[in-house]
Amino acid sequence: MSGVRRRFTAGVALVGVFIVTGGVAVAAPPTATIEIDIHWSHYEPTVVHARAGQTIMFVLRNNDPIDHEWILGDAGVQARHRTGTELSHGARPTELTIPAGTEVRTTIAFGAPTTLQYICHLPQHEAYGMVGTLVVDGS
């Protein structure tokens, strides 16, 4: 598992994402907030923008009576989660389980321009359309 975690961290670094973990701040406080609602197993909005160098606090609200995930990453990250076996997420700020009817917040700093996706990898959810895109524009 630790190997998987290290590979994930390396992959995140490659796409220019820096993480502020709870209690161990390694980046500046958030300079912007992005709110994403979940309703009827869809994200809203499905496209969000950040700027390179920005630290964003994401507020993720699950308005459904079922659990969802928010997995942010590049194609490699998403591919791993499609066949992953973790039942729940929360240890990494870019991989979160959002229990039914709850709100989860996470803070992420973005280093370089890139395009990432956020997807729920619970069974059938991605195929149902639970996919969004985060575009990190140049600063």
Binding site: H39, W40, S41, D64, P65, I66, D67, A100, G101, C120, L122, P123, Q124, H125, A127, Y128, M130
Partner: protein
């Protein structure tokens, strides 16, 4: 009569040995959201202001779990074990060629408030009161992972009703009872309501848009019913039988367990549902009053009117959530 009933019992056993309905008019939910649903049959009988909804759960073997969602048009006053041959007798009545073969072996294989708890064979059934969120959470707390379309589908029904019925299939109890794979448990739900109503959209639960939904619905009403949507065929709803019920049918049905309510004369309608999941966005509203005005709200074609002060509870549509749990012997059971 005895020989006919014996033949019916044999037919019922033969059908049960085949891939007969796992559950009539319900969406099935497996672990991790997997859904398994076969062609289903359901009887919605209506007489003297009471709907009699007869459907069947089928033991599918060990190795997993699933639940099901079955909305109904009113709050049940009783939920009990149904008769053993009612659904099979209706099949025979509406497909006479199979009757000539005596045994229709070629038949296509085919945290809410708890109001009532009933045990039927290996099924634990609970009537719940709550909205979509409460029922969804109840399901999650009872170990079921609802598929991603569940929030929308639950809202579709719960916006018209706060009543749900949950059933859990105890696979260990089924095995202890000696139930074999394919054995069905008929369930008879009695629901006072101004007009019967049959959930159809729930059949799509967990299905992708292109998946085919097949089901059969039998209606037994005092007079020829008016239906909405109209069974035009191209809309996924076909009228396959539409005539006065025969005396022999009514007599046979009346002799089955719990079927003493069957009147001396009635109209029998058989509807075939065959549609892609993405097109089955409605329920079946039925006006058996003779006025010919089935409700667009009951059909799910328009929302319940906003909020009047006191809504007559008899006019509110209720939703029944049936959660069944069955251990599955095969990962792709009965598909």
């Amino acid at each position: 009569m005895r020989s006919i009933l014996a033949a019916l019992a044999a037919a019922a056993a033969a059908l049960a040995a085949l891939a007969t309905p796992v559950l009539g008019c319900g969406g099935l939910i497996g672990p991790n959201g997997a859904v398994n649903l076969l062609r289903t049959s359901t009887l919605a009988g209506y007489h003297a202001g009471v709907e009699h909804y007869v459907t069947e759960f089928q033991f599918a073997g060990g190795g997993g779990a699933f639940g099901s969602l079955t909305p109904l048009p009113g709050v049940p006053t009783s939920v009990e074990r149904g008769g053993d041959w009612t659904l099979q007798r209706l099949v025979i009545e509406t497909t006479p060629l199979r009757l000539s073969a005596a045994v229709p072996a070629a038949a296509s294989a085919a945290p809410a408030e708890e109001l009532m708890k009933v045990r039927i064979d290996a099924l634990d059934i609970t009537v719940l009161k709550g909205g979509a969120d409460e029922v969804g959470l109840w399901a999650e707390q009872h170990g079921f992972r609802l598929p991603p379309d569940a929030p929308e589908v639950l809202d579709f029904y719960a916006s018209r009703s706060p009543i749900f019925l949950a059933a859990v299939f105890d696979a260990d109890a089924a095995q202890a009872r000696g139930q074999a794979i394919g054995d069905g448990t008929p369930v008879h739900i009695t629901i006072p309501t101004p007009n019967p109503w049959v959930p159809l959209r729930i059949l799509t639960l967990g299905k992708t848009g292109t998946e085919q939904i097949d089901a059969e619905v039998y209606l037994l009403t005092d007079r020829r019913p008016a239906l909405l949507p109209n069974p035009l065929g191209e809309n996924g709803l076909g009228l396959e039988y539409d005539q006065a019920a025969s005396d022999s049918l009514l007599s046979d049905l009346r002799s089955d367990k719990g079927m003493g309510w069957v009147p001396n004369s009635a109209w029998l309608t058989k509807l075939g549902i065959g549609a892609q999941a993405s097109n089955l966005r409605y329920d079946l509203a039925i006006d058996a009053s003779g006025q010919g005005t089935p409700s667009r709200v009951a059909a799910g074609l328009e929302p319940l009117a906003p909020a009047g002060p006191a809504v007559d509870p008899m006019l509110v549509l209720f939703v029944v959530l049936t959660m069944g749990m069955v251990l599955l012997g095969r990962a792709t059971f009965l598909q």
